[in-house]
Structures are given as C-alpha cells and as structure tokens.
C-alpha cells in the first residue's frame, strides 16, 4: 500500500511537469507569418518590357515588422552587425542610433517596437539568418493591397513607417526621378500613399539607416514555424 501511494505522488509530479512543459512550448513568441495567396498585382509604375500585371506566387510574410528584441538576438549571434562593429559600407552612422550599446537597447527603446535605423544590408542579413528573405516590393505592395498586412504599428508610432524590400530601388527603373510629370505615368495617380512609398524607396541607398525605416521577412516555404504560426491564425 505504501508503495502504491509513493507511485501516485510520483505520477502526479510527472504529470504536472509534463503539463508545465506543454504550456511553456505553446507560449513561445516566434514571429507569426501568414500565407499570402498568389494573384495578380498591378504595378504602380512600369518599364518597357514589363508585364501589364505581375503574377505574385504564394508566399509567407511576417505579420509584423522585426522588433528590437528580435534584432537583438541576431546581433548577439552575429557580432559583425553590432552597433560598434558594423562596417560603414553596410550601414551608415545612424545604424541602431537609438540603442544604448551593442547588446543594450536602453530605456527609450522598447523590445516589442519595430527595429529601425537598420540598413538594407542589415535587413537582408537578418532575414537570411532567420532562414527567410526580404519580400520584394511587389510582394509587399500586393500583401498591403489585399489588406493582409496593416498599419497598426504605425498608428502606435503616430507617423509613417516604411519598410525595406529586396528590390527597393529597382521597380521603376527608367523613372529615375519621380518628380513632375513622372507621376502622371503611374497606373493609379490617386493612390497617393503608394506613390509616396515608391518615390521614398527610390531615394534610398542600401546603407541608409533611417528613423522610420524597418523591415519584415518573407519566405517561400512553409517552414516549421510558419506552419505552426499559420495554423494558429
């Protein structure tokens, strides 16, 4: 009888531990990705030889821009991307400007806010490290037009927040300047916010680090996390 009681106690301990382990795994904070089903996207600008409508293949996109906290994990593992160690050729002097140190956000920078002051090179390196990639301009614009991604973050910041795209300066190749008459060649001149984004992207250099410029990652495949995150949505 004594032996039986001991067994029951042990059994309860084991069960509790098992449940704890399970609840811990469910509360992981991996970034969520959503499936953007493919379709046709009408580019705002076209070059000679471009298709009238661009076919966007289905892909996965993070629901939110990469946060300071997530970016910190990246620089912990990749010291060449730390604030004091990054090469100027990859990121200008404003790189992680608001962070207190290489591995310290400081009291004004919230871990859950989107990371900004990161260059295209840095954004690209982050997404590759995460097993993902930067979305193309068309993918990003397509997801926005389908209302699959939104501006919740921007409302919080109370200003326009832009995001890097893989081919940020290559979509409207021939329209080097978007001033004056160039705007009239847009397929939808009334889409003012898209116009702003296209013209903003065109002014960027890949090593620029700006206060209102962050990024999110995309992926072609249903990777382990994406699959899990997607089924939760």
């Amino acid at each position: 009888m004594k032996f039986g009681r001991l067994n029951i106690v042990l059994l309860l301990i084991a069960l509790t531990a098992g449940l704890l382990a399970k609840s811990k795994s469910a509360s992981n904070n991996l970034p969520k990705m959503i499936l953007i089903s493919g379709g046709y996207y009408l580019p705002l600008f076209k070059d000679d030889g471009d298709a009238v409508k661009e076919f966007i293949r289905p892909f996965y996109l993070n629901t939110h821009p990469v946060t300071n906290g997530e970016y910190l994990e990246f620089v912990k593992e990749n010291s060449q991307w730390q604030k004091s160690k990054v090469k100027r050729v990859f990121a200008d002097q404003n790189y992680l400007r608001k962070w207190k140190g290489d591995l310290e956000l400081g009291k004004d920078v919230k871990a859950e806010d989107p990371v900004c002051n990161v260059s295209w090179f840095a954004a690209n390196a982050y997404c590759r490290w995460a097993g993902k990639r930067l979305p193309t301009v068309f993918e990003w614009e397509f997801a926005l037009s389908k209302k699959m991604i939104g501006y919740s973050v921007n409302l919080k910041l109370k200003r326009t927040f832009y995001e890097w795209a893989f081919d940020f300066n290559r979509t409207n190749f021939q329209a080097n300047s978007l001033c004056g008459g160039a705007g009239s060649s847009a397929n939808d001149p009334k889409n003012y916010s898209a116009f702003l984004r296209f013209s903003f992207r065109n002014t960027l250099n890949a090593n620029y680090c700006l206060d209102d410029l962050g990024f999110r990652c995309a992926s072609n495949e249903v990777n382990f996390n994406a699959k899990k995150d997607y089924s939760e949505n």
């Binding site: 059994l11 471009d50 993902k132 893989f166 250099n205 990652c217």
Partner: protein, 222 residues
Amino acid sequence: MKNYLIGFVPAALLAIAVITYVNNSSVNSNYNNNQAKPGITVNIVESKPDECCKIQESAGVHSENSIYQLSSTWKDQNGNSIQLKKFQGKKVVLAMIYSSCPTACPVIVNNMQKLEASIPKKDLAYYHFILVSIDPDRDTPQRLMQFASGKSLNMTTWTLLTGSKDDVAELAELIGFKYKKNSQGNFIHSNLITFLDKYGVIMDQSEGLEQSNQELLTMLNK
C-alpha cells in the same frame, strides 16, 4: 495477488507518465533552441581565411569602404569557390553583366578588353578584370567559360563569377548597379565599369557606353 496488483498498476501508470514527460520535454527543448531565432535554419558558413589573407586583411582593414568586406562566396568559370577579397592587392576592373545579353554587355566587355590591351604586358600582373553575372539562373560556370572562350578572354587576368541572387543583389547595391529582369527574360541594367584599388575601395566608375579608352585608362590609373 491484490497487493501485487496495487503495486503494478501505479508502476505502469508511472512508466507511461515518465515516457510522456520525456517526449514532451524533448519537444520543448527544441522549441527553446529555436526561440532565440525567429526562423528555422541558420546557415551562416564562416570561411576560415588562411594566413596569407589575414595579413592582407589587416593591411586593408582601415578601409570601412572596401567591398571586400563582403563574405559572399562565388563560383568562377572553373567551378571553384572564391571570395572577392581574393583579388586584394591588385587593381580591379569589375563589371556586372549576363552572358545572353544582346547589346550593352558585349560593348562593356569589349571596352574592358581594349583597356587591358593598353596596359604594358609587364604590368599586367598588377591588374585583374572581373565579370559578375546578374543571371545566376542561366549563367552556370560552364556557360561563363563558353562566354570567355567566345570573347577570347585572357584567363590569367580575367575571372568570371556567378553567385546566389542575394549575393548578386548585395554586390550590386555596394557598387550602385541597378538591374531588373523583364517579362521577356532579359535584363534592363546600368552600364557600369567599376575601378577598385588594391584594398577593394571604389576609385572611380564609368557609366554608359561612350567613354573612350583614354578616359577609362585615366580612371584605372588614379
């Protein structure tokens, strides 16, 4: 018999519980490993520079603007893996092209060949000519080799490279080269020849196809 059962049943339950727990916790530890990274696979291949390169790097390391800071690995026309910093120590003339390019790229390559021809033979060892493909889908090392033979390039002073789309994009951003594939599978692209000093810093760039050989030579010898 009764006592035996009382002992056996909880023991069996305990065994099941322990197995469940072990399984659970191993799944959990996988999660924890992944939790630090917001993705799945982390494939950062660190190359180990040999002694020669370490010395060269320390010489050029003062330059924050060297494109040899790129850690990307490329394939040359022989299928060998190389990094751009291999060319450290030489003056480099670099262009981004693709082998099936119908018009502009042949002119660029031709201009680079003319430039090569105007360098005294004895000095040629101090220079290197690099063509980087922007069309990795089609430009395999074999195809680049065919292209080089077709143009009769001198393979002691020329190297043709192909790499991943990401690496091509990174290099393009570093030197300010723009390109875009159109619906016919051709590229619209900058016509750019880039001159690098022996540390991989851009000395000058020629844009367009109109520069005379004399103008290019002046850029090269800056």
